[in-house]
Amino acid sequence: MFIELERRPAHSTLYSALSPFIALILTLVAGAILFAVMGINPAKGLYSFFIEPLTEVWSLHELAIKAAPLILIATGLSICFLSSNWNIGAEGQFILGAIFGSILPVLFHEQVGIWVLPAMMIMGMIGGALWALIPALLKTRFGANEILTSLMLVYVAELFLDWLVRGAWRNPEGFNFPETRSFSPGQILPEVLDSGRAHYGAVLAIVAVLIAWFMMAKTIRGFEVKVIGQAPKAGQFAGFDAKRVTIVAFMISGALAGLAGIAEVSGAIQQLRPTISPGYGFTAIIVAFLGRLNPVGVFAAGLVLALSFLGSEAAQISLGVSDKLGRVFQGMLLFFVLACDTLIHYRIRITGWAGRARTGET
């Protein structure tokens, strides 16, 4: 017996739109079964995982803090992925953005003024964009595989940050511990509301989503990206330059990852340390695909992923379950989304030996 996937002649628009929600429901059902097997009341388990983090104001702030970098990075990545450029190195661009943006607060600690924070953010975007430019140039000039080069540059970025905070940028009053001095108050992204510690990074994420949506939906530049991504030949006939699109797409996604980096460091951590990201650059790849490479979808997917992190912690405390459970939920969510998408475009056909022989003849 064989299982074959057969492309459907036409796929339902309704189900395409519903697919992420169906996936979410399937994840909840599978999660309920998981809780039941573990001997935990499924309703209580799902409540503490998905609802409890949303019931308190401080927790909503934490959700915004966690979601903002994911949304910023994934928004840039979705533009890059739509142009069929596979930037896997957002984590490294995040780090370089954080480093570039920290030049002011670390080396010119006394500098204050209203221009300092905007300058830091712009420096962060430049840092991320330059780091992303390397794999883009390697691809357009030498045909090097951007998946490999962008990924490997992540490790270079990590080690560069490590070297900085242990060496040249080490806090002179920090007992030789590997960290820079703390940013001074004028160099820290302020909190948006008094009720919690969510900072202006969340606002930057929303602005980025709106601009990206506008660019992709309403401008010729966005159209160019999509055409080159889907049909490079057709794009060339239309006079679009595939190499230029590659470079622009990489630099946009690098700039947004860099902005996420400096916003995270300035708003949430307030100094550089050897590790500044718990893998945001990689998680954002999941966010980009969950959000179906659409800025608005990315916004929603970023919130869902952030919720799964918070929920995992809440469940660890209130239910005493392992921190691995959160990972299982994220994995299930991605699995069901991909499965739903596949089944919308394909149908499953079970064929016997005879069926195989028949296809063999054709």
């Binding site: 097997v37 573990m38 001997g39 935990i40 308190e56 401080w58 934490e62 803090i65 966690k66 490590d162 242990r166 060496g167 007992f175 030789n176 511990f177 590997p178 703390s182 510690r197 995270e264 949430a268 951590i269 307030q270 100094q271 340390r273 050897p274 590790t275 500044i276 990201s277 718990p278 918070l310 912690e313 809440a314 660890q316 405390i317 209130s318 239910l319 005493g320 379950v321 392992s322 921190d323």
Partner: protein
């Protein structure tokens, strides 16, 4: 299949018991002690030992105490959320057990004056509900150095080091000083792995060191991988943070055991009594915070020597950083009989003579 089902059923039953127990009793009368760990509790090193401390608190106070923990909490923005979550969920005392939680702990402490905070290995106490605590692990390193110098045939030991912070540098210096007290020409090779817990990197480092001719390995990282590599290659090793004897029964000479239980019990008790006050402690063998695993796989005279040094350190008669000590660059650090001051120890960023490595800077 039946076996699997039984196993699943058993695990489920265990979880029900674990999850159900705290809910039954009245939570208001209890003191709640909460712990933030940087690694998984199954690392058999740093976080494992802190978790043993949690279990000891439960065993000591039984129904009077409730505990909670979060494991594998990354240092950075996530740490502050984890600490704040505990402060909000009714914890009376929160232990944050990694250096990188320092600023997060202090920030949250300022917002929650009624919750007591205990930060391991840090130095900032910005409000009077924050304490810091650490242990003098370097005391155990000196004994390891003596054993290594007695037993090594090549006269070279290997040291798998995590990060070049004072804590780790102290351990390296103490080890070589112990070794030189037996064999003045003893050499020490160091490999930096830049991680606290990465079994793959740690075992690669162990193999590299062994290939370079060391015949005794010690580590300042948290996994059991170096011990297992040493066992495979037939050389000797020291365990780290916990007793790793079961991972190398013919390999482990001894291990430095971080025993947090006495301190955790003492501090939870202080919260119950209402006598808790902010403090900074740096306990060693004298308080039982640092203990040595049984001396195994060595001749009796070496064992006797180790026990003698251990007793001297415990009684305060001897401390590893006692002069004369020369720095790696040849300048004198401590004159004959002089002992190191705490400030220099806390910020230690230089090697003493005999370490075959340049300190990353």
């Amino acid at each position: 299949m039946k076996k699997t089902l039984a196993l699943v059923a058993g695990m489920a039953a265990g979880l029900v018991a674990a999850a159900g127990a705290p809910a039954l009793a009245d939570s208001h009368a209890k003191t709640k002690a909460c712990f933030v760990y940087v690694g998984p509790i199954g690392d058999f090193g740093w976080s494992y030992q802190h978790h043993q401390g949690l279990l000891a608190v439960e065993a000591e106070f039984g129904d009077k105490v409730e505990t909670a923990y979060l494991e594998s909490v990354p240092e950075g923005a996530d740490a502050e959320r984890a600490v704040e979550r505990f402060a909000r969920s009714g914890c009376n005392i929160v232990f944050t057990t990694s250096f990188g939680y320092m600023d997060a702990t202090n920030k949250v402490a300022a917002k929650f004056p009624d919750v007591m905070f205990e930060h391991a290995t840090g130095y900032k106490r910005e409000s009077d509900n924050v304490s810091t605590y650490s242990s003098k692990f370097f005391e155990g390193r000196y004994i390891q150095g003596q054993i290594a110098a007695k037993l090594s045939k090549t006269g070279v030991a290997g040291y798998i080091a995590s990060f070049p912070i004072p804590e780790v540098v102290r351990g390296i210096n103490s080890f070589i000083l112990g070794a030189q007290s037996i064999n003045p020409d003893f050499k020490l090779k160091v490999v930096w792995v830049n991680t606290w817990f990465d079994p793959g990197k740690e075992s690669d480092a162990a193999k590299t060191l062994i290939d370079q001719g060391v015949d005794i390995v010690t580590q300042h990282t948290d996994s059991t991988a170096p011990m297992q590599v040493a066992a495979e290659r037939g050389i000797m090793a020291f365990g780290q943070a916990s007793d790793m004897y079961r991972f190398g029964e013919k390999t482990q000479l001894t291990a430095i055991i971080d025993d947090w239980a006495p301190y955790y019990i003492e501090r939870v008790n202080a919260v119950m009594d209402g006598t808790w006050e902010s403090q900074d402690v740096w306990h060693g063998m004298d308080h039982g915070s640092v203990a040595m695993a049984p001396y195994t796989n060595m001749p009796d005279d070496v064992k006797a020597l180790a026990e003698e040094t251990e007793a001297k350190i415990k009684s305060g008669e001897f401390t590893p950083f006692t002069g004369p000590i020369t720095k790696q660059d040849g300048s004198q650090w401590l004159a004959d009989g002089e002992t190191a001051d705490i400030g220099t120890l806390l910020g230690m960023n230089f090697y003493v003579q005999g370490v075959d490595d340049t300190l990353p800077n």
